[in-house]
């Protein structure tokens, strides 16, 4: 029997501290597992920082499979004959070419071409989309709807409970749960199965860069799904996952985190503290060939000028995470050229990795990070050479294989 607080105390014996946040549809299950009741608030819901040991949880995404409750994610429905045109004019990718039953990562920008947020768009039918994003965005969507009379936007966050199942055994686990043919789903595919008394939607998506899926279900069936996942999952090494381990996994995968790697434009006060997609290495999803979209003119100008900052993937000398490090052009730290946005020691890559935002004209030259770390309270400063990486730090072949190999 795994050691959980539930073995020691019954749930009703745990002192309840009201904190204004709601439990997600899985709370009945996640709460007893949360050893230190270590929660953070996410869109008004309690989200586990970690359940017992964030390292163990992190390793499950790389070695077995981890289960993250992503129900607090914002989910919006765009439905109607104008949904495609409306979204296409809002985001930077070509929504007219987005196939039904697939998911696409996307971003949306202000008129000035600064990133408001990123998210994933699920095309559910010709005229129905679900957009998921970490931050609330309804106000912007309402603005972006002005002039499109035939699209309804609803906040459907409460209509769906969601679990991300991520790691090498995730496909095998889903097969064992009876989702026949799930192995044929390609990355970003959406498949639906009859499940319990209703339906479950499974997308081959996730935020860990590994093989993984996200399960979307009516909240009334959330607990049954959880129980199914964990009882079937025992032999697949299934492990509940908190946000801290996710933060590590996403950095290895090279994904961005709002308020960490970029500052959402609508919440930015000072000029230059928000970001363009080019600065965030997202030029691959800015489609200048699709016709007009919001921010296009500004982005084209920025691209042509080519002077923008650049978010770089850095492999940093040594093994001390370069958190909050300032970046320099020279080892003597004379010329400051940028800063690190996210950093960690990556156990799977066995490298000291980071994302760093660097002024455009220095991005191709040498880069040094000024790293501070503590040894029994004593501060140590080290200047570490950085090597630029062009590929994600962690991108195992299985993440893209269809069908993925059983592990």
């Amino acid at each position: 029997m795994p050691l959980t607080i539930a073995n020691l105390l019954k749930p009703e014996q745990i002192a309840h501290v009201p904190n204004g946040s709601l439990g997600s549809p899985f709370h009945e299950r996640t709460s007893p597992l949360n050893f230190n009741q270590a929660w953070e608030e996410w869109n008004g819901f309690l989200a586990a920082n970690y359940y017992r040991d964030e390292h163990l949880e992190y390793f499950s995404t790389r070695n077995t499979c981890g289960v993250l409750d992503v129900s607090p994610m914002n989910k919006y429905r765009f439905k109607g004959p104008d949904a495609e045109a409306m979204l296409n004019r809002m985001v930077t990718r070509d929504v007219t070419k987005h196939p039904v039953n697939t998911v696409q990562y996307n971003i949306w920008c202000t008129d000035a071409g600064r990133i408001i947020d990123d998210g994933t768009i699920f095309r559910l039918s010709q005229d129905e989309f679900m957009l998921t994003c970490a931050e609330p965005n309804m106000d912007w969507f309402q603005l972006a709807k002005v002039g499109f009379d035939h699209v309804d936007i609803t906040d459907m966050s409460h209509e769906l409970a969601a679990l991300a199942i991520q790691g090498p055994t995730s496909c095998a686990l889903l097969k064992a749960m009876g989702f026949k043919g799930i192995e044929n789903a390609k990355p970003f595919d959406i498949v639906k199965f009859p499940y319990l008394d209703g339906e479950i939607m499974i997308s081959r998506t996730g935020f860990t860069g590994d093989l993984g899926y996200e399960l979307w279900i009516d909240p009334k069936n959330a607990i049954a799904l959880w129980d199914d996942v964990f009882s079937t999952g025992k032999i697949f090494g299934v492990q509940p996952l908190g946000l801290e381990s996710l933060e590590k996994a996403r950095l290895e995968a090279g994904f961005l985190s709002p308020y960490v790697d970029f500052h959402p434009a609508l919440h930015t006060m000072d000029k230059g503290n928000d970001h363009s997609p080019f600065e965030m290495a997202l030029s691959w999803i800015v489609n200048f060939n699709k016709g007009h979209f919001t921010g296009r003119a500004a982005l084209l100008k920025e691209k042509q000028a080519g002077k923008h900052r650049r978010l770089l993937k850095l492999d940093i000398e040594g093994n001390k995470a370069a958190e909050s490090a300032i970046l320099y052009r020279d080892a003597a730290c004379q010329k400051q050229i940028g800063y690190v946005t996210s950093a960690m020691w990556s156990p799977v890559v066995k490298a000291n990795i980071a994302l760093g935002l660097v002024e455009g004209k220095y991005a191709d030259g040498p880069i040094y990070a000024e790293v501070y770390h503590q040894k029994e309270l004593r501060w140590i400063r080290k200047v570490c050479k950085c090597t630029k990486k062009t590929k994600p730090f962690w991108a195992p072949a299985r993440a893209k294989q269809t069908p993925p190999a059983d592990t």
Binding site: R89, W140, V146, G147, F148, T294, G295, R296, A297
Partner: protein
Amino acid sequence: MNNKHYDAIIIGGGHNGLACAGYLAKAGKKVLVLEAAEQLGGLGATREFAPGFKASVAHTLPQLTNKLVNDLQLRKHGFELAANSLATVALSPAGQHITIANGEVQGASAADAESYQAYKRLLGRFADTMDATWHKTPPVMTDGGFKDASTLGMFGLKVRSLGKTDMREFMRMIFLPAQDMMDEFFETPLLKAALSWDYNVGNKLAPRSPNNAVLNQLLKMSGDMSGNGELPLPKGGVGGLINALAKSAKAYGAEIRTGSPVASVIVQDMQATGVSLENGESISANHIISNTDPKTSFFKLLGVQHLDVEFTQRINRLRMNGLVSKVHLALNAEPKFTGLNKANGRIIIAPTMQYIENAFDQAKYKGLGEDLALEVIVPSLHDNSLAEAGKHVVSIQVQYTPYDIAGGWDAHRSTLLENVIKTLEQYAPDIRSQIVASELLTPVDLEQQFRVTGGHWHHGEFAIDAWWMNRPAYGASQYKSPVAGFYNCGAGSHPGGGIMGAAGANAANYILKEEK
């Protein structure tokens, strides 16, 4: 597809569209004007509203300039004034009317007559200062400063040349409500009410409203046909001017088609390249210039899919709801107003500013006041082309009649007309029996018949937040729009509404300059 290709297609043959066409054609451009209605002129068209009786929605020309008339040789093409300037007459219920004519006030207190001179001098200087702005493309703000800053500089110089005292007064007064201005200069309530009229009419403003009343007043003083602040009356209604504008544009080579509503602007590769007509025909041109209001231009004709989100919202937020209705009465005899020899001036019916404010208060809450404020003109006393000899046309602006009246206009039309006639009867007791026909144009009627969103006088509120480099909104203030090849030239663009042709002329000049 019409295989002819034009340098410019102008959507709408209102007076601004025709002025724009005239200037472009004069510069050698191949121009096509497409007007939806069977008749040219938009709110300036003179129409037969009852058999044998004609009127135009706009009736006087305080904003028209000699420059436009001369540039486009409008006199040669038949433009004439029926009266150089109408006196303004403030009707008193007791028959003690006040007249403002030839720069003098008569019938108010001696102190007021004197103050009027100081008032006139100051306003004249302010109007002169604003002249630096009306007939030029506004500057735009850029990251580091301004582009096309010469008009900004000119305006600055003009303000400075007012001298310290007047400049300070200008800066102090420019955002004042009409009532503060009136209270500062005058004591006679009737005079104050009449003089406050031009500050407010056409906008969502009443005597106590701040923001843009003074600006509105100065815009009304922008013309110079018979001097600053005078009130010329065109021959044949404003349609007389329209005919001349159309003839002039044609003489310069422009083609004009009526009965040709445009359904949409054709955009290819993010560039406006032509228009589709409602009949399915499409025609191509290098420049597509819209004389319609900004909402129609951007939402209906262009389509927001070609625009950015924040820009779209700025257009969306424009205040488009008109508050002025127009009533045209056909009379079988000359109307007689108690205590007036001849009703040949511009008659204001509003005993006090409070009276006007009360009507506004009702309208603010989507209601209709019983006591309405009116501007009444009998143009047929100066012009025999509008009705048969001995018969007359009464042209009335009515305030305040909200576009979005509670319950809809169908429920209020007859009440409104009755209230107008009842109000008139108090001053012209026989008028009801003289009426042989009438026409009521509420803001909703104006919207439907003249294709102006909200039926708004200025194609959208003329206000500090929608003025000069913000008119109609930043991103489109220089006649061009965010979509290459698409322009605006109507009253929704700088300098605003009123019959002056400046938006049309400025747009044409901007386009011609851009080509160089």
